[in-house]
């Protein structure tokens, strides 16, 4: 019980701090990409010492909390208050099944922490792991719809409709990209999925490149990051579903958005990039086994190293998210939907069928499940072939100037 509470406290504190500092990182990265300086003034409060602007998140937080929290008169008050709460609760609760490390041994420096090694996940052994994540991401849609509808504002409502259409559409390729991993590792438990990559040494990004592509694109869309940030497309919708929000409620929406991005990075790393595993550094067993000569006496060092490896990977993925955000233009809405239904869905299906066939062949001929090096070249061949096929069958048309007279029903179909 106490163990679980401590883990929850660490997770909540860590996530909130991380979200705050990732906002700062994002602003500094944006400045770097746009050749500006970025926020670098706020340092230690009440002094004149600037520490690279590291006090900025604190100042932002204080500003958001002390700002006037204005509730427009025309909103539906109850739902207006409920929406940001729902979205933040869903975003935070997702992390209950996401591991943030491997294990801590029961005994550290001769001090006995627990009866058995502590698994670094709030709900260890959650068999439904991934479906739980999906369930909560579908609950997050409520926050968006309710926020947009309760605001009683055309821009908010359009933003909410777009956003929920996008989230629902991209849940499908997200699930299909994931299915290959579940099939190959034989479990929905994220810890077991990492274990299967660690023991074979083949990350699923290598074994299933097509699934990786589909999942990453869908994860970007689910996190509503550029180039998929249609929900709050500024020049068309002001601020999308949170146009009418201010103060702490707006902060809740923004934090939830960042948490979605962090969750997406966690999932990308855990499902496809090996989680805490790195070749020759962390050992391949799911248990803390004191792998390697230097650590045979210090299993806690191995546990620590795994946490460091996982966090490094996640930070790198988040930095990738940010670079893409600040260097790509936004999709138009029809392009967004065409990408989901005409490109990502078929690719996801091809990946799923290919993985199923390869797993079955492998089981028949070698009797072993899980990823194997033998299948990697075949998987890459499938990926290249499928990608070429899709580019031939459903090319993305960026130039949509009308070339001929369109029938009314054709125009309808584009809206």
């Amino acid at each position: 019980m106490i163990e679980a509470l401590v883990k929850i406290a660490i997770l909540l504190g860590g996530l909130m701090t991380a979200a705050a500092y990732f906002v700062l990182l994002e602003r500094r990265m944006a400045a770097w990409i746009q050749d500006r300086v970025g926020p670098n003034r706020v340092g230690i409060p009440l002094t004149k010492i600037r520490v690279l602007g590291l006090g900025q998140p604190l100042a932002d937080g204080v500003k958001f909390i002390t700002k006037e929290e204005y509730t427009p008169a025309h909103v539906d008050k109850r739902l207006y208050v409920l929406a940001p709460i729902v979205i933040l609760v869903a975003a935070l609760a997702t992390f209950a099944v996401i591991p943030f490390g491997s294990m801590i041994p029961a005994t550290v420096f001769g001090y006995r922490l627990a009866e058995k090694p502590i698994e670094l996940v709030v709900a260890p052994g959650a068999n439904v792991g991934m479906i739980y994540v999906f369930a909560l991401s579908s609950i997050a849609v409520y926050g968006v719809i309710l926020g947009g509808w309760a605001s009683n504002n055309k821009y908010s409502f359009l933003g909410a409709l777009r956003s929920s259409a996008q989230l629902i559409a991209y849940e499908l390729p997200l699930g299909l990209g994931l299915l290959g991993v579940v099939l190959a590792s034989g479990s929905m438990d994220l810890g077991v999925i990492i274990g299967s990559q660690a023991s074979s040494g083949i990350w699923f990004a290598i074994a299933q490149p097509l699934g990786f592509c589909v999942f990453v694109v869908a994860a970007f869309a689910e996190a509503a990051r550029l180039p998929f940030d249609l929900p709050e497309c500024e020049q068309e919708l002001v601020g999308g579903y949170h146009t009418e929000y201010s103060g702490i409620k707006l902060l809740l929406f923004l934090v939830a958005e960042f948490l979605h991005m962090i969750a997406a990075s966690f999932l990308i790393v855990i499902l496809f990039l090996g989680g805490w595993h790195f070749w020759g550094l962390t050992g391949g067993s799911a248990e803390i086994d004191g792998w390697g000569l230097a650590w045979s006496g210090a299993p806690w060092l191995q546990g620590l190293l795994r946490i460091v490896v996982l966090m490094t990977k996640i930070t790198l993925v988040i930095v990738g998210f940010m670079i893409i955000r600040w260097s790509w233009p936004r999709f138009r809405f029809d392009q967004l939907m065409a990408l989901a239904w005409k490109v990502m869905l078929p690719l996801g299906l091809i990946n799923f069928v290919a993985v199923a066939m390869m797993q079955q062949l492998q089981a028949v001929f070698t009797g072993a499940m899980g990823p194997s090096w033998l299948m990697v070249p075949i998987a890459w061949g499938v990926a290249v072939a499928a990608w070429l096929g899709i580019t031939w069958a459903a090319p993305m048309i960026a130039d949509n100037r009308p070339r001929r007279e369109l029938d009314p029903w054709e125009i309808d179909s584009q809206i």
């Binding site: 739902l79 052994g125 959650a126 068999n127 439904v128 479906i131 739980y132 999906f134 369930a135 909560l136 579908s138 609950i139 849609v141 409520y142 719809i145 309710l146 509808w149 409502f157 409709l161 929920s164 629902i168 034989g186 479990s187 929905m188 100037r401 009308p402 070339r403 001929r404 007279e405 029938d407 009314p408 029903w409 179909s413």
Partner: protein, 261 residues
């Protein structure tokens, strides 16, 4: 007709039991909330509902330990309260949201019993897909929720009949709970729930013993999807015939729409 003297004989017991009054009060409260009266009547209805919930709680008994019993009561309250609010809410949007709350409570109850997959799947399928679709439609229609024709279905006959039926079912369930008082409480959840391979076992069972049903359901959904597409295509084909001819815009030689000066 032997039950009538039996009932009469137990009348004083019936009058003294909180269960009976809880059900009567609950039914009255629902009737007040459903009949679409004034705000005062609705307020009285809510008050009566709260009182009846308290009385029904008094009849419940502790099975197992306190903490898990408390969790169960909270979840049950969310489920039933959400359901009651869903049928009495006036705005259809609120109805959909209360329905989702009730589903979340149900999912919580499933999880509490160790049925991990069932709980999470309830959220994904019902709350995540079906109710969201309802919400979409309701919000696009921008309902005010006070239209008189919304109330037609709640006629003078339907509401009392439904309430009496519901009260009878609740009474049956609650009185049959008496049997639990004497029996031993369950100490451990069923084996499949605690299994480390919960999902794998469930999948194995479904695809080993119910393969045909699953295939049939899949085919059914597929047919529904094809049907929906067929209806859309049919509508499109007939539209250009009914639509009036639109004046063609001037075009350049290349076929691009262009301004002729």
């Amino acid at each position: 007709m032997t039950c009538v003297p039996l009932l009469l004989g137990q009348m004083d017991q019936l009058v003294r039991s909180p269960l009976c009054w809880g059900i009567v009060l609950g039914a009255t409260s629902l009737w007040l909330l459903l009949s679409g009266g004034s705000e005062t009547l609705r307020g009285i209805g809510k008050l009566l509902g709260a009182i009846s919930l308290l009385m029904l709680t008094a009849t419940l008994m502790i099975v197992g330990d306190w903490s898990s019993q408390l969790v169960f009561w909270v979840l049950a309250l969310i489920t039933t309260g959400g359901a009651a609010a869903a049928i009495t809410a006036r705005s259809p949007v609120y109805t959909a949201i209360w329905f989702a709350v009730s589903l979340l409570g149900t999912a919580g109850l499933f999880l509490f019993q160790g049925a991990q997959f069932l709980g999470v799947a309830t959220v994904v399928v019902y709350a995540g897909a079906i109710v969201v679709t309802f919400l979409f439609v309701l919000m696009l229609a921008q309902p005010e929720g006070h239209a008189p024709y919304d109330r037609i279905s709640w006629s003078t006959f339907a509401v009392p009949t439904a309430l009496v039926g519901a009260a009878a079912v609740i009474a049956l369930v609650l009185t049959s709970l008496d049997g639990l008082r004497s029996s031993e409480p369950l100490t451990s959840p069923p084996q499949i729930a605690t299994s480390q391979q919960h999902m794998a076992e469930l999948g194995g069972h479904l695809f080993a013993y119910h393969l045909v049903s699953i295939e049939v359901i899949g085919t059914l959904l597929m047919v529904a999807l094809v049907g929906a597409i067929a209806i859309v295509l049919h509508g499109r084909k007939s539209r250009p015939e009914t639509a009036p001819d639109h004046p063609s815009r001037p075009t350049t030689d290349a076929g691009l729409p262009g301004g002729t000066p």
